[in-house]
Each structure stands twice: as C-alpha cells, then as structure tokens.
C-alpha cells in the first residue's frame, strides 16, 4: 500500500511547472527556479531580492 501511495506521489504533476505557450525558454527557467525556491526552499520574491 505504501509503495503504491509513493508511486502516485512521485507521478503527481505540478501544473505551475509547465512552460506556457510562447514563453521564452530563459524566462521559463527563471520562473521555474523562482517557483521552486519559493515553494520548496521557502523563499518568496521579496526575500530573494534582499539577498543581493
């Protein structure tokens, strides 16, 4: 059961990670790094700016 659950979790898709139609490839990956840093690391945009 737990293995099955794990596989389902692993296959779960995150819609925010998809490239939008016509989105520039550099802008897309910039958006991805920001998104992951925000959602996984806990950085928000303002916080990232203060790093500079």
């Amino acid at each position: 059961m737990s293995n099955k659950l794990e596989r389902i979790t692993l296959r779960e898709e995150v819609p925010e990670l998809k490239r939008e139609r016509g989105e520039d490839v550099v802008k897309y990956l910039e958006r991805m790094t920001t998104y992951m840093n925000r959602t996984i690391v806990g950085l928000d945009g303002k916080y990232e700016e203060t790093l500079r």
Binding site: L10, V25, L29, M32, M36, L51
Partner: protein, 422 residues
Amino acid sequence: MKVQLVNVINRAETLAQDRWLVPLNLLSLSTYLEQAGYEAEILDGTHISHEDMLGKIDGEIVGINFNIFSVKEMEKVAGKAKGNGALVVLGGHAATHLSRQLLTKNKNIDLVVRYDGEEALRQIAERVSTKRRDFSRIPNVSYRSKDQIVEEPVQLLDLTSLPIPNRRSRGINLEDYISNFSKIPLIGEFAKGRRPSNVQSIRGCNHACSFCGRIYKGGRMRHPEQVYEEDKMLVETSGVNYIYETADSFFMNKPWLKEVVEVYRKRGRLPVNYWALCHIQDIDWETIEAMKFFNVDMVNVGIESGNEEVRRENGKCFSDDEIFRATSLLGQAGIKLQDNYLLGLIGESQETIQDTYRLAKKVAETCQVASIRGFHLILPTPGSPIWAKMMQIPEFRAKYREDYKFDIEELRRDYLTHFCNL
C-alpha cells in the same frame, strides 16, 4: 615594489551571501608574494565599491581576477592600471580559459597567468623589480610576442609548498568578512554565535560535471598538518568557531582524510564546527564517522537533477537510491544537508523539471535540509564541458569563440534552445 591583487565583481550579479567569504585565491597569492619579499595589497570588490577600487589603483603590477559577469569592471580596472604605467596581469578561472581572447582583443592586458598563479606571479614580480620586461620561460604565463600569443607550459604546484593564506594581508579585515555572515537573510538564527571563515584544503575535483568550468582536474591536497595549522590559527588568532571547507569534496580521498583525522586526534580537536562540500557518492558510514569527528554540521551537495538519465548525461553518475541512502545517513547522523539543483542541464525537459521538483521534496523527508538549499539556473561558462559542446557547433563557435565578452542571456538562450527539450 607594490603588487595589487584585485577581485572585480559585477555587483548586480553578486549575492550578499558571498560577502563573508575571504578571497582565498588572492590571499594565497599575496601571502606567497609577501614571503618572497614583495609588498602586496588586495582590493576585494565584494567589500569596496568599483569607484573606490579605481581610485586605489597604484601598483606597479596589477593582478586582476574576474568572471564573465564582471568583464566591464575588469576592463575599467585594466585601463586605469595601464594608464598608470602598471603591468596588467589577469588570472583565475575565467582568464585561464579565455587567455588567447583577452590578449588578442585587449591591449591593456600584458599577461595572463593560467592555472596556479603563486609561483608565476612571484617570477613576474622578480622580473619587474629588476626592470626586465621579458616574461618568457615563466610557467603558466601567456603573452603577446609580435603577432602571436605565446603560452608557456603549465606547471601545477604542490599544495604542500604553499604557505597558509595570511588573513591579515593588506586590504583585508577579517572582522568585516565575519560580520557579513549574520547579514545573510536565509542563514537567520543559524548565524547566532558563529564566527565563520572559509578554507580550502584541496584544489580540484575528481568529477567532470557538464556545467563546471573549474580549471583543476583531480584533487591536490594540502598536508594534513597544514590543514590543522590553518584551522588552529583561525581559532586562536581570530576567534573563528565555524569553518567552511570549500574543497569540492573534502571527503574525496579516504587515505588522506584518515591522515587528517589522525593529526587532529594527536594534536587535539579544535572548538570548531565545520560546513563542507561533499559529493553524494563520498557519503558512507566511514565518511559520516569522519564528519562526526570533525563536528561537521552541514554538507553542501550538488544533486542537480531529479532525473537519473539527465544526471548521467551531465556527469552526475549516481542513482536515486544512492541519493536517498546518503541523505538518510546524514539524517541519522544529525548532519544538515544543503542540497543544490541546477535547471537546464543537457537533456532537460518539462518532465525532468517535474522530476527535480519531486525529488527535492522527497529528499527533505529523509534528513534535515538547510535553509539555504537552492535551485539555480545553468550558464555555460568557458572551460565547462557544455561550453566545449557548444563550440562544436559552427554557428556558436563563430559567435562566441573569439571573444571574452558575452551577452549572458543570449548565451544562455542559445545553449538551452540547442541542448534541452523544453
């Protein structure tokens, strides 16, 4: 005779979190020069403004370290130094890979030192001090001769022959660096009570990651006694209690690691905690024991991608199982993981980005992750395998190979469009 060693940076691209790291590359050069009887001064762009730096340029030799973000600043410093009649010498990672382009395109640059700079710079200073302007037969040096670029053979130094970098070199105030640690927003409470400094006991790495432009292949170690002496000096003379070991993997060579442990055991452990970089495959019970012995409380590991195939394609040949085995060991030992990921590796697709997102979340379930773990965007830099792959394509070769100034966004876009499936 005065030698100035300048670290030029582009402030827009330099993170505040780097401002606590002393410029060990320049400190090693200045200490070596001081030992040979030359006056050396460091101007570190992470601590002084570009304008102040330009106002301070007055050395007979001006050595400049730069990266591909700080080309404009480097050109200004080189122009100012040349205008003063100084000998302008470039060195470091970027200069090593771009030596021909720099000497061909910028007449303000007299010499480029490739790879290790200590002995080359000493010999350059010796010749300048005796009014000689012939730099032939100095190891690692490149220079113009008539219409040609001459590259003297490369000699890598035995690290055990280098003195411990002097953190009191002219231009360096260690307290200024230490105080910047607590200003890193993400560090937060972690900074409390910590007086950190960085060291580097190994130059080079045994791996060949696609994105890495490091110039040293294979690890050269300092003597275990030197490692101890440097740490002890930091503790005793500067009250440092937290040491960041910036070797690419401090745990890469187990026989050497055992010798270091033995020295610490014999001479006495130091009241200090460590933070170190580590390769995921170097984490096993043996190295975990060493980490515990050294009071390592955080390791910085490049996982890079959540997709095994992408990792393999980019020189990170370890499986998901190996990752989880390693992170679980760290978890059991109570050592924090600072895991890093790189988006845009060769073969990256929207699906592999999903893999990376999921893997990073899963890793955090196996151990305690650091607040400064992070996701980064790839950039092909000269000297890296992905740069070499780009240069195999005639269009990119024509566009980038003969210059040292790049439009970073365009370079990134060219690479991503050609090597990823996004």
